[in-house]
């Protein structure tokens, strides 16, 4: 089969690789009909996530058709159309039973690696480094899905792929980010990053009752997309973010701040340059410019919700301000399985049509160009869908 493989920084290629097979009784093989490139894939593309190996198959946002299933999979039939959460969860451990699927105890065969770095291992993910399981990803013609009986969600055939594809990651991710803000009547929510995750966070915050949402980015097309959802916007290259947000909130500061940027934040301020230097000489791994801004501007007692990915170490983390203002910090990979049924209802009811975010479509064979286009935000690119 053909698959998008990682070979190093800014080097992805479509290769011919062997087809996957059923290995365990709870496996299924899915023929991929649509797959997307995530902002998280850009961290791999930039080579900032450890434990990747040349030849690894990328991709964790995908849907398709069940073509084969293991002996223990009883709740699905061959031919079912399914969406696949990006985290792999066993359904049987304490974490899964408490709906913390991205913390599943049993799905990461390389748990020892994550334990070395983090003390404990989060769940395995599709196509996202060996430390997080080493599983082959979904930017391919076929994928082996472990624990398919908990990891596959059937969708109706007549729903267009682009309406349901983002249930695999970015819609639940934006939703969880907003839910973590514990939004109350009258709340103002500030969202850093108007990429796909930011876009869904903005819409989810409004769905959950936020009074105002302020979106921050520098890319005009992305800011426009935020405006279309009903957000006010700040272009961080033209305005001082702290001052603008304090002004908008009458000096109170936002009730909740969402960092939908993560470890590769851009910035021209002193701390951002300092981060760049430290990362360049391996003194730190993550650039926490957005996180610092969010902590500084967030109102006293407010919440900083962090869907943006961080991988390792941050220097100059403003713990004093976070402590002094008694902030709540919420973060983590999304528990996709938890949100999927509810968000599916929202799509069916017409509360939201996630396909708004798609700006570019490529064939799988053009993956290298697709990655470059998304990475450089060329030509108004916000979200790329690949068709195998």
């Amino acid at each position: 089969m053909r698959a998008v493989c990682w070979f190093g920084e800014h080097d992805v290629r479509v290769e011919n690789v062997p087809d996957p097979q059923i290995v365990n009784p709870r496996d299924a093989i899915v023929r991929v009909t649509a797959t997307a490139i995530c902002g998280s894939d850009l961290h791999l593309y930039d080579g900032v996530i450890p434990t990747m190996q040349a030849g690894d198959i990328l991709g964790h946002e995908f849907m398709g058709e069940v073509v084969e299933k293991g002996a223990a999979v009883n709740n699905l039939a061959v031919g079912d159309v399914v969406v696949v959460p990006f985290n792999i969860a066993c359904g049987g451990c304490w974490y899964c039973k408490h709906e913390q699927f991205s913390l599943c105890d049993n799905s990461n065969p390389n748990a020892w690696m994550a334990e070395t770095l983090y003390g404990h291992a989060p769940s395995g993910l599709f196509g996202y480094s060996h430390m997080l399981g080493g599983y082959a990803g979904g930017q391919a013609e076929f994928v082996r899905v472990p624990f398919a009986d908990t990891g596959l969600f059937r969708v109706e055939r007549d729903l267009p792929a682009e309406k349901v594809l983002f249930l695999t990651d970015i819609f639940p991710t934006g939703y969880q980010a907003a839910e973590n803000c514990n939004i109350q009547e009258g709340d103002t929510v500030a969202v850093w990053g108007c990429g796909p995750v930011g876009q869904f966070a903005i819409r989810s915050a409004l769905m959950l009752g936020a009074e105002r949402v302020v979106a921050i980015d520098e890319v005009p097309e992305r800011l426009q997309m935020a405006t279309a959802a009903g957000a006010e916007t700040i272009d961080f290259t033209g305005e001082k973010v702290y001052e603008a947000l304090m002004d908008i909130t009458g000096g109170r500061g936002p009730d909740a701040c969402i960092d939908a940027v993560g470890l590769e934040a851009h910035g021209a301020t002193l701390d951002a340059l300092y981060d760049r230097v430290k990362v360049a000489v391996y003194m730190a791994t993550d650039r926490a410019h957005v996180l610092r801004q969010a902590i500084r501007v967030c109102r006293k007692g407010g919440t900083v919700s962090i869907p943006g990915v961080y991988g390792g170490l941050i220097d100059k983390f403003p713990m004093g301000p976070a402590f002094g203002k008694a902030l709540t910090l919420k973060m983590g990979q999304t528990h996709v399985h938890r949100y999927l049924p509810k968000l599916m209802e929202h799509i069916r009811n017409g509360d939201i049509d996630p396909s708004f975010v798609v700006t570019h479509r490529f064939g799988l064979d053009d993956a290298a160009e697709a990655y470059a286009t998304f990475h450089e935000q060329r030509d108004g690119c916000v979200k790329v869908v690949l068709q195998p």
């Binding site: 190093g8 105890d105 391996y282």
Partner: protein, 298 residues
């Protein structure tokens, strides 16, 4: 006496090195292992690694067989060759103790979660015969006897007299608070072939007992909680790597730095505490100068 009590009683008397020396021992030892591994499978590389492992072991355990031999706290000058290895590892499994005990007591099940155990043949109610991967391509065999058996709570066993790999082992099943399942704790006390030196070499040749037991327990948990053992393997996937298989050049080895241009630990670089490879220590070291060192600490 339960093995656990024995292990705890034995614990303190076996530390004969001060804290600072232990830290140094770990740091220097780790450094040597790295350097040794970088030289690959050459003899000098392996010797360096062996020496390094010895120092690391000494630092971590706080026990120096050589000192013990010198100051007479060990039975004799040959104590270097009779050093014991103790392992205690625990995992919490979301299943009732009866089920876990039942699986374990049926010893023939164990190779399913312990890949290095080739076969366990049950001889009678108490006795069993074990065949296990040995060094290189060899295998080792022995008879074992169950010495204590408390249903759903505790099993203890010992290798029969006269074999070259003497050991005692125990597994304990204890219920965890509220709905958290059952704590399974495995304790091993053994004298590996050839004593201490072999144990250190075993470390280099990738048979670190505590890591192996931890992985066994992880597989046991997976099998009991999910009915299968998680794997990313398959025709289109990469082969999984065990902790033991990674060496310093390997991109799969977890490190917090960029995977693209791994930092090389140069031999002529001065030793730093970070070389001991604890990410928190490393962070404390590297965050300097920072407003709140260490900047990353649980």
């Amino acid at each position: 006496m339960h093995l656990r009590t024995a292990l705890e009683a034995a614990g303190d008397t076996h530390q004969n090195i001060g804290t600072i020396e232990r830290a140094l021992s770990v740091a220097v030892g780790a450094k040597l292992v790295w350097s040794g591994l970088k030289r690959g499978r050459s003899i000098s590389g392996q010797l360096l690694s062996a020496a390094g492992s010895y120092l690391t072991y000494r630092g971590i355990s706080g026990f120096c067989p050589a000192y013990a031999a010198l100051d007479g706290s060990a039975p004799g000058p040959l104590s270097l060759f009779v050093s014991e290895i103790r392992v205690s590892e625990a995992v919490t499994i979301d299943r009732p103790a009866e089920e876990l005990y039942g699986f374990w007591r049926d010893l023939g099940n164990l190779p399913r979660v312990m890949p290095h155990v080739q076969q366990v043949t049950v001889l009678d109610e108490r006795r069993s015969h074990w065949r296990v991967d040995g060094p290189g391509k060899s295998s080792m065999e022995w008879d074992a006897r169950i010495t204590a058996d408390e249903p759903n709570t505790y099993i203890e066993w010992a290798s029969e007299e006269g074999i070259y790999l003497q050991h005692r082992g125990a597994v304990e099943f204890e219920s965890a608070p509220a709905d958290r399942g059952t704590i399974v704790r495995v304790m091993l006390l053994y004298r590996p072939l050839g004593g201490a030196v072999a144990a250190f070499l075993a470390k280099v040749f990738h048979r670190a007992p505590s890591q192996e037991i931890r992985e066994d327990l992880r597989r046991f948990k997976q099998l009991m909680e999910t009915g299968e053992i998680a794997t990313a393997e398959g025709p289109s996937a990469r082969r999984a790597v065990t902790p033991a298989e990674t060496d310093s050049e390997d991109s799969r080895r977890p490190r917090l730095r960029s995977s693209v241009q791994p930092v090389d630990l140069h031999e002529d670089e001065p030793l730093r505490r970070g070389d001991a490879c604890d990410p928190v220590d490393e962070a404390a070291l590297e965050s300097f100068p920072a407003s709140d060192p260490p900047s990353w600490n649980g």
